[in-house]
């Protein structure tokens, strides 16, 4: 069991993760089609006059009106930091890169260990904030089920166990086993649960005709 989780299941998890994402993307493009009519350009894109730095800043601040940066700035900042750390921390962790190097003789640049430690701590704090929102904010509680807590656990568990393993606070052997297992569970579940918003966040941009869109919403279901 231990050998399987720490050996073959890692490759299986990576393959399921990659093939799952490819499958979802291919299905998405098969289910959607190109649209003949596309949205007209935005007024700010039509206006090609030269602007001063002040005007650029003004225009930028103006575009923030009515966006999440104005309606819920705290959550927007926390969720942005959380998602960046979520990608950056595991990719540039020294321990992971040593394993990559041993396996494929390929590795990415690594952060110094204290940096990775801080990034992990940031992820855990953000995770605790999300959990607090789910528990105490009535508007989030209204749409929360047990599934949401499980998915939050799946997303946070690899970082929590990784943090514990790095500091060797509990039995290292057990914690590192749980770390590997939870990482595999996360990779396998990403394409098939709501964690799939990792991919669909970008794919849904093909329908949107205004800001933050790809190809000005030229696709339709």
């Amino acid at each position: 069991m231990c050998n399987f989780v720490e050996g073959r299941l890692i490759s299986i998890a990576f393959v399921v993760f990659c093939l799952g994402l490819i499958f979802q993307a291919v299905r998405f493009f098969k289910l959607t089609k190109k649209k003949e009519w596309v949205f007209p350009p935005l007024p700010m894109e039509m206006n090609r006059e030269k602007k001063t730095a002040g005007q650029w800043i003004n225009q930028f601040l103006h575009t923030l009106n009515g966006t999440l940066w104005k309606t819920d700035p705290i959550l927007t900042i926390i969720t942005s930091i959380f998602h960046v750390c979520l990608i950056v921390a595991p990719l540039f962790l020294l321990g992971h890169n040593i394993l990559f190097d041993q396996a494929w003789r390929l590795s990415l640049f690594s952060f110094p260990e204290p940096w990775s430690d801080i990034l992990t701590l940031v992820i855990l704090i953000c995770g605790a904030y999300f959990l607090g929102r789910r528990l105490f904010l009535s508007r989030v509680r209204a749409i929360t089920s047990i599934y949401d807590y499980i998915v939050l656990l799946i997303a946070i568990a690899p970082f929590l166990t990784g943090f514990l393993a790095y500091h060797q606070w509990l039995d290292y052997r057990t914690v590192i086993f749980l770390h590997i297992l939870s990482g595999e569970v996360t990779l396998i579940t990403i394409p098939f649960t709501k964690l799939g918003h990792m991919l669909f966040f970008f794919l849904y941009r093909f329908f949107i005709g205004s800001e933050y869109s790809f190809v000005r919403g030229s696709r339709t279901w």
Binding site: D72, V140, R141, A142, K194, Y204, F207
Partner: protein, 133 residues
């Protein structure tokens, strides 16, 4: 009781309709992160003292979401509740905003079509106790 409340539900027809848009709607429903960030974009939510039942995500999850979960096996009572959600709690102004990019209005519109297929719709020409206008 009005005829809307007593007519039997054709679950087969509902299932047929659900299957027709399954690819789109299931993808929208299952990749909703349940973050509640769409709340403030709904003017009805703001106008009703930030009552969670006016959140776009709440309206979708408790109408279309439940229909897919129950695979169309619903009773008339459920459809009547759904009527309140998709007509009274939403005016389909299309201004709701999802950070992930989920198109909420198309889901509400689809939920309305399913209600209409079962003869459930607001009868604004009849003054009755169910009128909310």
């Amino acid at each position: 009781m009005t005829h809307q409340e007593v007519k039997p539900v054709e679950t087969k027809k509902i299932r047929e309709l659900l299957d027709r848009q399954k690819g789109k709607m299931k993808r929208y429903l299952s990749f909703c992160a349940h973050c509640s960030l769409c709340a403030e974009s709904c003017f009805l939510y703001m106008a009703h003292d930030k009552d969670p039942q006016y959140m776009p995500s709440y309206k979708v999850i408790h109408s279309l979401g439940k229909l897919y979960k129950k695979r169309g096996n619903v009773d008339r009572k459920f459809l009547m509740e759904m009527k309140g959600i998709v007509w009274r709690n939403c005016v389909l102004c299309g201004r709701c905003y999802c950070p992930i990019g989920i198109h909420v209005p198309s889901m509400i519109a689809f939920a309305r079509s399913i209600c209409r297929s079962q003869d459930v719709y607001p009868q604004l020409d009849e003054v009755s106790s169910e009128s909310w206008l």
